[in-house]
């Protein structure tokens, strides 16, 4: 089922008097994986923070049919920040147990998610003693706990080993197939190849908000990286 996940009209965010997002308009559908792609400093994180309700904004921003920031949206959103935001001095399971209570998730769900992110062996380890990739997986696990309608993931697979990355992207595709809305940011262009829909951003402005296939066709390129360059230099052929 394809429905509206996120809809922005004339979205604008200013920080210290400078526009970080400038008159951004787009739609994100549920049931597909949408990539939010752009160089670092383009405004990706600010856009994600506005969507999950921790960033003030001007203009219109609808999330799952409600105004972004509404209290009723909080149980329906899973958000993973760029640097893992979990408690370093708790074990993997203790971290998940705490967030599970807040998200009303069951104990069986905790075990299920630990298996999903492949941390069974590390479940009783303190998060601070884990590798960077493992900590990122704990952070992702927290976002999956509440079985959210919308997953907003800020560079979730950067620094992970290729096999696990493959599996996580398969998981994202599966969640999308179940009708969830997924918005995944990356500054690594090859990750964009795995997305159905693309939002290309640069300097706070939107360059593209349609499917990847259409982008490649329009710019007459083979990869998103080339397409991005074509959009930046000439606006496409």
């Amino acid at each position: 089922m394809i429905a509206m996940g996120i809809e922005a009209k004339g979205l604008r965010v200013e920080k210290a008097g400078k526009p970080v997002l400038d008159d951004v308009t787009f739609m994100v559908m549920s049931g597909v994986v949408t990539g939010l792609i752009g160089p670092s400093g383009a405004g990706k994180t600010t856009l994600m923070r506005a969507i999950v309700g921790v960033q003030m904004y001007q203009g219109e921003l609808q999330v799952l049919g409600e105004m972004a920031g509404s209290a009723s949206l909080r149980p329906k959103i899973g958000y993973v920040t760029q640097s893992p935001s979990v408690y370093d001095d708790l074990t993997v399971r203790q971290n998940l147990a705490y967030f599970a209570t807040l998200l009303r998730a069951s104990k069986t769900k905790i075990d299920e998610i630990i298996t999903t992110v492949q941390l069974q062996k590390q479940a009783k380890q303190v998060v601070g003693s884990l590798s960077g990739g493992q900590r990122a997986r704990v952070s992702l696990a927290v976002a999956l706990l509440g079985d959210p309608e919308l997953l907003v993931l800020d560079e979730p697979t950067v620094g992970l080993d290729p096999l696990l990355r493959q599996e996580l992207w398969a998981l994202f595709a599966e969640l999308a197939a179940r009708g969830k809305t997924l918005l995944i940011s990356s500054h690594v262009m090859d990750e964009a190849e795995r997305c159905d829909q693309l939002l290309l951003v640069r300097d706070g402005s939107l360059l593209w908000d349609k499917s990847r296939q259409e982008l490649l066709a329009k710019t007459d390129t083979q990869t998103v990286e080339d397409a991005f360059l074509a959009m930046v230099t000439g606006g496409g052929k």
């Binding site: 921790v54 003030m56 640097s83 935001s85 203790q94 705490y98 209570t101 807040l102 998200l103 509440g146």
Partner: protein, 246 residues
């Protein structure tokens, strides 16, 4: 009820974090005892002088130490990004602050009890009034330090700034709150300023109970002022918490 469970879960989570950190726990519980013991040693030849300041110290140490521990820990949550994550979840701002108050309040109670037992029963400090009121006042002070610590952490961006709140907010209260000199011996304006500081009332109440056989009306009034300041700081701590950044 969701909010009760969220508060409990948050308090349990904070205590679990601390249980992995033995050094901090040891510092919270042992430092005030060591400091009180050092002072007792220093007054070795003039026990009467120690007994005169002892009750007030019971208000000062738990207050100052709980203030610094709480403000740094709360700030760490803000800086680490876990606070932002929590703000995207259904947990309420009051749930979060009450969770912190509950966890550190529990530590404050243990710390104040240990310090009270040391002064009253190990050093045998004589107190004219009932012991329980002195202990209750020590608890109230530790809780006040906890709630003020949570509140001021909202105004610090870095741990370095948070540490500076100790000299900025705790030290003036120590210096002019009546510990070194009675308020009526101070210049009028300074005494008036001291009356805007909660620790002044705590010190006054502790001295009242040390010198009067029964609990005076002043002691009760001071106790409720300290409690009210603590409650106000917790409420302000929750109200100053922002889900959305500008």
């Amino acid at each position: 009820m969701y909010h009760v469970r969220a508060i409990q879960a948050t308090a349990r989570r904070i205590l679990r974090q601390l249980s992995h950190d033995h050094r901090t726990l040891a510092l919270i519980f042992i430092v005030p005892l060591v400091l009180l013991s050092l002072l007792r040693w220093m007054f070795h030849d003039s026990i009467d002088a120690f007994n005169a300041v002892g009750p007030a110290l019971l208000g000062v140490f738990p207050f100052a130490l709980m203030f610094i521990v709480t403000s740094i820990t709360t700030l760490r949550e803000r800086v680490s990004g876990t606070m932002e994550r929590l703000m995207t979840m259904p947990i309420g701002k009051f749930d979060f602050v009450f969770g912190y108050t509950l966890a550190f309040g529990l530590l404050a109670v243990i710390q104040a009890l240990l310090a009270s037992v040391l002064l009253l029963y190990v050093f045998g400090m004589p107190v004219a009034g009932p012991d329980w009121f002195l202990i209750m006042m020590a608890l109230a002070n530790a809780l006040l330090g906890t709630s003020l610590g949570i509140f001021v952490s909202a105004f610090a961006r870095t741990e370095f700034q948070a540490v500076q709140f100790m000299p900025a907010i705790v030290m003036p209260q120590l210096l002019i709150g009546g510990l070194f000199m009675p308020l009526d011996a101070m210049p009028n304006l300074l005494a008036a300023i001291a009356h805007f500081m909660p620790l002044t009332y705590a010190i006054e109440a502790l001295n009242e109970i040390a010198n009067h056989a029964d609990i005076t009306a002043t002691a009760w009034r001071d106790f409720w002022i300290v409690v009210a300041c603590g409650v106000a700081a917790v409420a302000l701590g929750a109200l100053t918490l922002r889900r959305k950044s500008k």
